[in-house]
Amino acid sequence: MDNYKKLEETRKSKLLVYVTSDRPNLGTQIASDILSPFTEHLDRIGDVDKISLYLYTRGGNTLAAWTLVNLIRNFCKDFEVIVPFNCHSAGTLISLGANRIIMTKQATLGPIDPSVNGPLNPSIPGTNNPNAKVPVSVEFVDAYLQMAKSELKITDQESLAKILIDLSQHIHPLTLGQVYKSKSQIQMLAEKLLKHQEISSDNKKSIVRFLCSESGSHDYTIHRKEAKNLGLEIEKPDMELYGLIKEIYDDIESELELRSPFDPNVLLGNQNQAQYQLRRAIIESAEYGTDVFLSEGSVSKQVAQQGQQQQTLIQDNRTFEGWRREDLPK
């Protein structure tokens, strides 16, 4: 927490830290269950002039991101986002709602084109898991229809109707409807969020266009220079500020084990049973300490013989999953 206080002094603001782990096999996302712990932190902070949000995430729910920005803005006049490293998708959406974005050299933003996820999505071919679904990218559906019209020059209504019917045999019509709605919603949200940055109306539209579709695939990364060239309000940290941002990141990376893939086999090792407590996301402030998203439980190993084949079975018994409060700062 010492570094948090130093950062608050440097930025003359109150600091909130929000990290969703992207540790391999332990994916965590921005979701609506953060709003309650965030409210607790903000209530302790109270109404202040400025809040800095230290944000590391690969994304998540668009409406949770939208709600979080509006919640924070209710507690401050000036809101800034500090990006130490990855701040993609819904994280980028949150950043658009800030007055400025502080980006390190290694910081990246990403496109905000949404994917639709749900039980009506197409299943992944060749998988044993019926719940494994293909996320339907809004922009990819649009690109498919654009390709038919622009590249293949298919313009007559009958042929276009056939293309749509064919598409609806692969993607459920309700999912396609959701795709259409999501596309207009994300543009509306992004434009509204950008109102706190000093950007002309035309430039706002071109930023939104770039982030929603022109940047190509969803894994495209936008570094500091490109973000600035786009017209976003970007601040480069000086060496002192960078040092603080980096120290905080290094602590979090170590705490959440971001570099080490989660593997239940490794967890068990030579034992037949092992307990686990996995830290997957954190919300922290100097005022109110730590809220952590945890998965707790145990795994046990059994070896089963099936004919000539020996198979290892790992049984998971999850005893807790959710947000839990930890220590208050002394």
Binding site: N25, L26, G27, T28, Q29, I30, A31, S32, D33, I34, G59, G60, N61, T62, L63, A64, S89, A90, L93, P111, D113, P114, S115, V116, N117, G118, P119, L120, N128, N129, P130, N131, A132, K133, P135, Q178, S182, Q185, I186, H218, F262, P264, N265, L278, R280, A281, F293, S295, Q306, Q311, T312, L313, I314, Q315, D316, N317, R318, E321, G322, W323
Partner: protein, 72 residues
């Protein structure tokens, strides 16, 4: 697709995760397609090269859940 009939083992200890049924508007920070989410109260078959999740009651229950909100 169930692996139960192929292996002769059933996941009798599988538990329902009723969170989604009790509150369809609740959304967890746990990412749905991650291994940690797939293995929740399930049995994993560990092969030499891959890990598959066996079908359990939990998966059947998940099929009935509402569409989750959009992700970016």
């Amino acid at each position: 697709m169930s692996n139960s009939s192929q292996t002769g083992f059933t996941s009798i200890s599988a538990k329902f995760d009723t969170t989604g049924l009790e509150n369809p508007f609740y959304e967890s920070s746990s990412k749905g397609d991650s291994l940690i989410e797939q293995m929740k109260n399930n049995i994993l078959l560990v092969n030499e090269v891959e890990i598959n999740v066996r079908e359990t009651k939990k998966q059947k229950q998940e099929e009935t859940e509402n569409t989750v909100p959009n992700k970016v």
